[in-house]
Amino acid sequence: MVERRPTLGILAHVVLILGVIIVAFPLYVTFVASTQTAQDIVNAPMSLLPGSHLVENYTAAIQGRSSGAGSTAPVGRMMFVSLVSALVIAIGKIAISLLSAFAIVYFRFRFRMVAFWAIFMTLMLPVEVRISPTYKVVADLGMLNTFAGLTVPLIASATATFLFRQFFLTVPDELLEAARIDGAGPMRFFKDMLLPLSRTSMAALFVIQFIYGWNQYLWPLLVTTDESMYPVVIGIKRMIAGGEAANEWNLVMATAVLAMIPPALVVMLMQKWFVKGLVDTEK
């Protein structure tokens, strides 16, 4: 900083600490609630100190031994569904976007720009604006309550295709010339040159798309009716039913904590790529 102003420095820390407290407070309360009994929580005000039922609540939630008014499906299964869907969505998006960006950048063919604009247009058709007809397509294809139904319609990604296109355009032409002189065909060049060079972009996209996949709500809400195919985000919502006291909030909150851990871990562990990826993709 340009000048020393101790008071302003302190003020900065105070504001940031307040910000962190406000951001963290709901998360803390959630954790505390997940360690208490349902009775403790209903007797307002609940204690703000962790209780002693942590292990008990989490095993009950994972095995689905809730006696609350809402859904009592085992959370273990839901976590599995969420994990599979998030991984398929993230990896699938990266794979098909890499291929289409490669085609658009490294080939000249008729209707190249048509294909490019068609992919671009999907940005303007988020799932929210075409829910009933998309539901009908998925139902007609017999994909309700399947992993395919949960993932495939979400796999097309204009954002990822753009990011890879931008990146490929910055790859020097000399690399391609050198590869050609050495007799490499297109797929060889793709596999041995472009893929290794794109690693950082792939990592960044993976974080963003994993979170996107894990946090999906509206789409799974439509295409899953069978408890064994609920992702955990839907499961939490279904656990809440009836009046406030009718829910086993301790188990709902344990489920919420479980649902937050995987995406939070991905963000924390891959923070560097995540921040870079976020700022790059959206620009």
Binding site: V15, A24, L27, M124, E128, N215
Partner: protein, 293 residues
């Protein structure tokens, strides 16, 4: 920008594009076309007969007071979410930019909510504000404020705004931090030598230079409030009390899947598509501008 050197093949590019093209045709363009078609039709309750009604669905939509009310709700909601979200995260980013030590720690602690699913965010805040058991509503009652979002629509609106802003702060914060870091330090030093204090430097240098970031975030936050907050609304207020927090996307879902009014729901989808197209155009014109900046 184009490549000078390219491969030549008649079939390979299409094979590479095939997965993406198939998915966008089947799950994007076909359904979007269906929505357009359905918005011009009226099916009876059993789906046995379908007739063309032209723009009747749209006319009915804009004559429907509950649809106009939903527009108003969405407008209020997105102004509050975008305004509060941007103001709070800008403040945090400016202070984070001032401090020398601990920036990474603060950043790590502040980006948490980005990873939280909107539906989970809705449930967390619902739990905090639940009228009879929530810890925050208990605190509010203790100071004499009778909180009940199940009855009072302003309270319900406040609940979804808080949850939506909380979820979005981390995202805005990261962009503002990146934006502030790209402002040349020499500009700020020059202003300091001329005697400008931090407050003045913020308004005359940092804020104007951040305007591309702010504008970008404004568009993104409006899109977020319009579309991605469905989960927050469904998990916390479910559009209630009455229909007072039923934002447009919630209404499309409700009318299409709960009330089974396909024509009306499709017409609403089409209106939403126009909104997205408009927002995307605004966003991209701005991106072009920024390249020349």
């Amino acid at each position: 920008m184009e490549k000078r050197v390219v491969f030549r093949s008649a079939w390979l590019p299409w094979a590479l594009l095939a997965p993406q093209i198939v998915i966008i045709t089947v799950f994007f363009f076909w359904p979007a076309a269906q929505a357009l078609l359905q918005s011009l039709q009226q099916a009876d309750a059993f789906g046995t007969s379908v007739e063309w009604v032209g723009l009747d669905n749209f006319r009915a939509l804009f004559d429907d007071p509950s649809y106009l009310a939903s527009f108003k709700t969405t407008a209020i909601f997105s102004v509050l979410v975008a305004g509060l979200g941007i103001a709070l995260s800008l403040m945090l980013a400016v202070f984070a930019d001032r401090i020398v030590k601990g920036t990474t720690l603060y950043r790590t602690l502040l980006i948490w909510p980005y990873a939280v699913a909107p539906a989970v965010a809705g449930v967390l805040w619902l739990f905090l504000f639940a009228p009879s058991i929530g810890i925050v509503s208990y605190g509010l009652q203790a100071i004499g404020f009778a909180w009940n979002h199940l009855l009072d629509s302003d309270h319900a609106m406040a609940l979804i705004v808080v949850a939506a802003v909380w979820k979005q702060i981390s995202y805005n914060f990261l962009f503002f931090v990146a934006g502030l870091q790209s402002i040349p330090k020499s500009l700020i030093e020059a202003a300091a030598i001329d005697g400008a204090r931090p407050w003045r430097r913020f308004w005359t240098i940092q804020f104007p230079l951040l305007s591309p970031t702010t504008f970008f975030l404004l568009v993104i936050n409006v899109v977020y409030a319009f579309f991605e907050t469905f989960a927050i609304v469904d998990a916390s207020t479910q559009g209630g009390p009455g229909r007072d927090t039923a934002i447009l996307v919630y209404k499309v879902y409700y009318d299409g899947f709960k009330a089974m009014d396909l024509g009306g729901s499709a017409a609403q989808s089409v209106v939403l598509m126009f909104i997205v197209v408009a927002l995307t155009v605004i966003q991209f014109r701005f991106v072009e501008k920024k390249v020349n900046y």
